[in-house]
């Protein structure tokens, strides 16, 4: 369990998240991709706190902020998916060719 190993694992999770967010058609699957990206970022941040910053208490706050970002993303993402499904009956990105409602 070294710095490099955790960095590579975090980068792998982040890369899979990038692939998912760019390639999936379903809105909820895109949200899953975004959450995987945040997952990798949190792993890297926790590693930096534990192995590079020497465990200063302020270091964990970055992970707390990332968790807040993830919760906000999930809440607003679900709200937008619900709203757009009600108005347009759209559940994949291809059904939203134009922005005008």
């Amino acid at each position: 369990m070294s710095q490099q190993a955790i960095f590579v694992v975090a980068a792998a999770i982040f890369g899979i998240g990038v692939y998912g967010a760019l390639s999936q058609q379903s809105f909820v699957m895109i949200m899953m991709g975004l959450e995987l990206m945040l997952n990798g970022a949190m792993l890297a941040a926790a590693m930096v706190w534990a192995m590079i910053a020497g465990g200063t208490p302020k270091g964990q706050l970055l992970v707390v902020v990332l968790m807040t970002v993830m919760a906000v993303e999930a809440a607003l993402g679900f709200a937008l998916v619900t709203g757009i499904y009600r108005v347009r009956k759209a559940d994949i990105t291809e059904k939203l060719k134009k922005l005008k409602g």
């Binding site: 369990m1 590579v8 760019l22 910053a53 707390v64 807040t68 607003l76």
Partner: protein, 219 residues
């Protein structure tokens, strides 16, 4: 030694289940694969002595993935994975972006030289985080709380403008019945259907009603 074995087990589990998220036929299973990936990362955080963050990550994602599975069942086609499913666009470009970001970020991790300053083994990380959150860094904590509150209000506002049976300011009527305002406006049997259909509804129906009803009525 045992630490390394456990770490690599969790790391392979997290990466493998992250990969399975986009390769399974069932969207509900995809949500639970994502949960497994988060659990792996959460336990790695616990091993890194960030116990509080790791456990709270697992708890939070357990709830969120359950909600996500419910969303999948509600909205998506093929939630049970009975048919093969590949719903992707620009697959090659996305692959390239994924591998590219993996390569770049892991190159940073492998070749950059960071100072090695490990958490002292007897550190009380959770207690220190608590004092920090309610002490010097209370502003960060409060800002996160207010941001979450704003997100909740925003989410409710985004979805509740239109209720189940029409706009919120119309009152609630079952789908077959006319809204109270429209029923009062229609004078009854004297008006033929043709004229009623040809004319736009008079004053009561309001400004943007016809357009909204066009897609709104099927709930």
């Amino acid at each position: 030694m045992i630490v390394d074995v456990v770490f690599w087990f969790l790391a392979v589990l997290a990466v493998f289940s992250a990969w399975r998220v986009f390769r399974t036929d069932s969207m509900v299973r995809a949500a639970y694969w994502l949960l497994i990936s988060f659990v792996g990362v959460g336990f790695i955080m616990v091993m890194l002595k960030a116990e509080f963050l790791g456990v709270i990550l697992i708890l939070m994602m357990g709830g969120e993935m359950t909600i996500m599975a419910v969303f999948m069942v509600m909205f998506m086609m093929n939630p049970a994975g009975l048919n093969p499913m590949i719903m992707v666009h620009q697959n090659r470009a996305a692959m390239a972006a994924g591998f590219g970001s993996f390569g770049l970020l892991s190159a940073v991790g492998l070749f950059a030289r960071f100072p090695a300053s490990v958490v002292p083994p007897r550190a009380q990380a959770t207690a220190e985080l608590g004092t920090e959150l309610l002490g010097d860094s209370m502003l960060v904590f409060q800002t996160a709380g207010v941001t979450l509150l704003a997100a909740m209000i925003g989410a409710v506002a985004l979805v509740s403008v239109r209720g189940r049976f029409g706009r919120a300011d119309e009152g609630s009527d079952a789908p077959e019945q006319q809204p109270a305002a429209a029923a009062a406006a229609a004078p009854g049997p004297t008006v033929s259907d043709a004229t009623a259909a040809a004319e736009p509804a008079p004053d009561v129906a309001g400004e943007d009603m016809p357009a909204d009803h066009a897609h709104g009525d099927a709930r």
